[in-house]
Amino acid sequence: MLAQLLFGKLTLDAIPFHSPIIMGAFVFMVLIVIAVLFFITVYGKWAYIWNEWVSSVDHKKIGIMYLILSFVMFLRGISDVVLMRSQQAIAAGENLGYLPPEHYDQIFTAHGVIMIFFVAMPLMFALLNIALPLQIGARDVAYPYLNSLSFWLTFAGAMLCNASLVIGDFAATGWLSYPPLSELYYSPGVGVDYYIWSLQVAGVGTLLAGINFIATIFRMRAPGMSWMKMPVFVWSALCAMILVALAFPVLTVTLALLALDRMMGMHFFTDFAGGNVMLYINLIWIWGHPEVYILILPAFGIFSEVVATFSQKKLFGYTTMVWAIAIITFLSFVVWLHHFFTMGAGADVNSFFGIATMVIAIPTGVKVFNWLFTMYKGRIILATPMLWVIAFFTTFAIGGMTGVMMAVPPVDFQVHNSLFLVAHFHNVIIGGVLFGYFAGFIYWFPKAFGFRLHEKSGMWAFAFWVIGFYVAFMPLYVIGLDGFMRRNSHYANTLYQPYLIVAALGAALILIGIILQILQLFLSFKYRAFLRDHTGDPWNGRTLEWSIASPAPLYNFAVIPSVNSLDQLWVNKQLQIGEGKIHPNRLHYEAIHMPKNTPAGCIIAIFAGITGFALVWHMLIPGIVGLLGIIATVIAKSFITDTDYYIDAETVRRTELAHLKELAQCTVK
């Protein structure tokens, strides 16, 4: 009885000792964790990690933690790719490959879920955290403690998803877990429950982060930065965060209803007791379509910053850029049905959503032309961030084109669910979102870490990535048109095999690209003294984040800048404001009000993780402990009144002087 209350459905049978791949991955993960813990102990860094990172409410450090989370999960998502591409390359005709369907099905589900929720989303929040407050001249986000909580909830969700690898199994339903397949009748195991609760926990984190950034952009802009003087990255972030705030509650409710179906015997989405599967599919895409715009809009923002900076020219058509983003934001909510034209809605409904989808191509096209004409009559520096933007143009144009083609319902009737679709969305998500985030990562890396990334290895990584991308995905367009469907673990017709072998080779090239990126990180760290960003402005930037030291000091801005034009820093540099006039004795600094670190966010997330795990396995006692833990932590935290402190003027003066000195030496050289 007690065992039942404590462990619910969980028994030792849930651990797949018989599966060498999973146990191998498990042993590997355990070894890495032990190694990390060992080194932390040996170097006596526990207090440092707890006080400076886990408890940190500093947006720059939270950004770096998001980066690490995204990177680790990326390795998992990419190992899924290796498994899937090699399986499809060999499983033709009589050969069934080496992965049984029940395993393969979990892999493609996990790949989608991990890449979207635990790679792309954390990477987006990493870049937002690192760059956005600095771009608007703020000292932190609006709610620093909430920011920490958001990160740790995302982290807890990711860990819950990872736990499914070893304890029990993951959903084998596809990344959106359509019922009735995801209902208890067809999926009686814990896989779908892992899916639901890892997304629920991470989803709350995302929603809170979205609200936080909206408040930050509304309330924390430097004096004088009116709406139309915000950098485009801030605009794109604002629109993306509004989408988060509007769309993520839909996801939460949808998954909650599915959980009620599975746990409480309700019938929202069953197809035999009054439920309606179409309700789920509509709801999940009402969240799901805005979700892809949540990912792409900040990438558009990054392209706008990078193109202008590296073309050494003002962004073309700022006003139309802003309007284009706003229109895309609005339209992203009225196109969700194009994900299921084949459901059998009438021609009127299908045409409406098809045409609404095409209309999005207009503002998107306008943005592309504005970027192109930012380069026109500019002076383009082909540094690695710019290379990713150049690769983006062609890749995204192809992806956008195939997207519009699929928006025509009769065409979609042919290519829906085929590899043509798979190639399309990888074309826009890799070619648009990921290339953009890579550009942003390289661009803002010096601001976060104080040194630039190694260029040469970055160029090689870029080359392998882009060539690998085309080799991996262009064959998929062809066999998609040739009637090859997604999610196949095996195919009888060997005609498709050469294409899938080429796709696997492409994936291998991408893998080399990723290894080179890791090498780039390693080399950059090794030569960090040489790559040190002394000036705080390594790219001759245009916006406020480049006006301060790299890495940004704890308080960001010693004096809050005032803004009276777009690209304020660029204007300042043109007018030579401040140059040659700095005299240490004339500088006046004031004490800066800062929030104190708190581990509450991490503790709440740990309890949330426990609750999620308990819900997956129907464990009553741990579930109650988790919930009470969350409530108790929130209450206990609210009694702590000692939440802020001042950095005294002298410390600020010393920090700023150190930077100015470095700057001066660098100018002399």
Partner: protein, 301 residues
């Protein structure tokens, strides 16, 4: 240097594809690119029309992106560097306007063709009375019922050429699936308690691949069926032969079919229960209670 590398990558990818396309020459194409029915033929036409319309914008974008990057490299020290030029009413109107025109054209085309090729409507130009074939997606196999002839098949569909076929489609004891014969035309989801309808006309004799496109569990990958398009005479001959099949689709035989199996060989049944298709739909539509209607089947894996 990098721009060149980038161009090389595109050339390499393109030539790889060209080689693949040539080696897999057109007679072996199994999908949209090699249509064998009215609907698929029209969909292919629409596919290429849309492609052409989109290329009006996409090609200039790709060309401009490379020429601008090449020409305006900082090392070229071009004389017309205009760091503050950031607005042109004319240019911006151009790239709001031209895409708008293209999308209007595409929207009109979409509206027209979506209505014309709505799967629920008869295929344009084929107003003769259509032959009904009832399709039930079962755990990882397809059951085809010819109600007028009282025969049924598993994973094997025989249809006459140039005859409009109206497929009635539903599902039993398997999650939502999708019925699709790429070379003949549109796909459509199959759902329990519902009847989807799809109209197709085959215009060329041959054997084509049919499949499920919507992931529905472990047997998904092999949920294919053969579609044999024959002359009306051959069709009649086949019907007569199948009517003599010793297998009868009794209730018990149908319940057997509800058990999951993977990669079933074709089977032919003569003698089918009356209103089998309607009864399957009603099993879910009129189901009372909260248990799955098929949950009392002894499930064997």
């Amino acid at each position: 240097m990098i721009a060149r590398m980038r161009k090389n990558s595109v050339t390499i990818a393109a030539s790889c594809l060209a080689i693949l396309l040539l080696t897999g020459c057109s007679t072996h194409l199994l999908g949209l690119l090699n249509p064998k029915g009215i609907v698929a033929f029209e969909e292919r036409k629409l596919f290429f029309n849309t492609l052409a319309l989109m290329l009006i914008v996409v090609l200039p974008v790709i060309i401009m992106s490379f020429t601008f990057v090449y020409h305006y490299q900082a090392s070229h020290r071009t004389k017309d560097y205009k760091p503050n030029w950031s607005h042109s009413f004319f240019l911006e109107s151009l790239w709001w306007g031209i895409p708008c025109v293209i999308i209007v054209v595409l929207a009109l085309l979409t509206w027209k063709k979506t209505h014309e090729y709505d799967p629920f409507n008869k295929v344009t130009g084929y107003n003769q009375s259509s032959m009904v074939i009832q399709v039930i997606a079962l755990p990882w196999k397809w059951l085809f019922i010819y109600p007028e002839h009282h025969i049924a098949t598993i994973n094997y569909l025989v249809i006459p050429i140039d005859q409009q076929i109206e497929y009635w489609i539903t599902t039993d004891n398997v999650p939502m699936s999708a019925f699709f014969i790429p070379q003949l035309g549109s796909q459509i989801y199959t759902m329990t308690g519902m009847r989807s309808r799809l109209h197709l006309v085959a215009t060329q004799i041959g054997v084509y691949d049919g499949m499920n496109t919507q992931f529905n569990g472990n047997g998904f990958s092999d949920m294919h069926f053969a579609v044999n398009v024959v002359t009306p005479e051959k069709m009649q001959q086949w019907l007569n032969e199948t009517k003599k099949s010793p297998l009868h689709l009794t209730d018990q035989a149908y319940n057997e079919l509800l058990h999951p199996t993977i990669n079933d060989k074709p089977k032919f049944f003569s003698g089918i229960p009356n209103n089998l298709f309607e009864n399957v739909v009603n099993t879910y539509m009129n189901s009372t209670g909260t248990a799955h209607p098929r949950s009392n089947l002894p499930r064997k894996e």
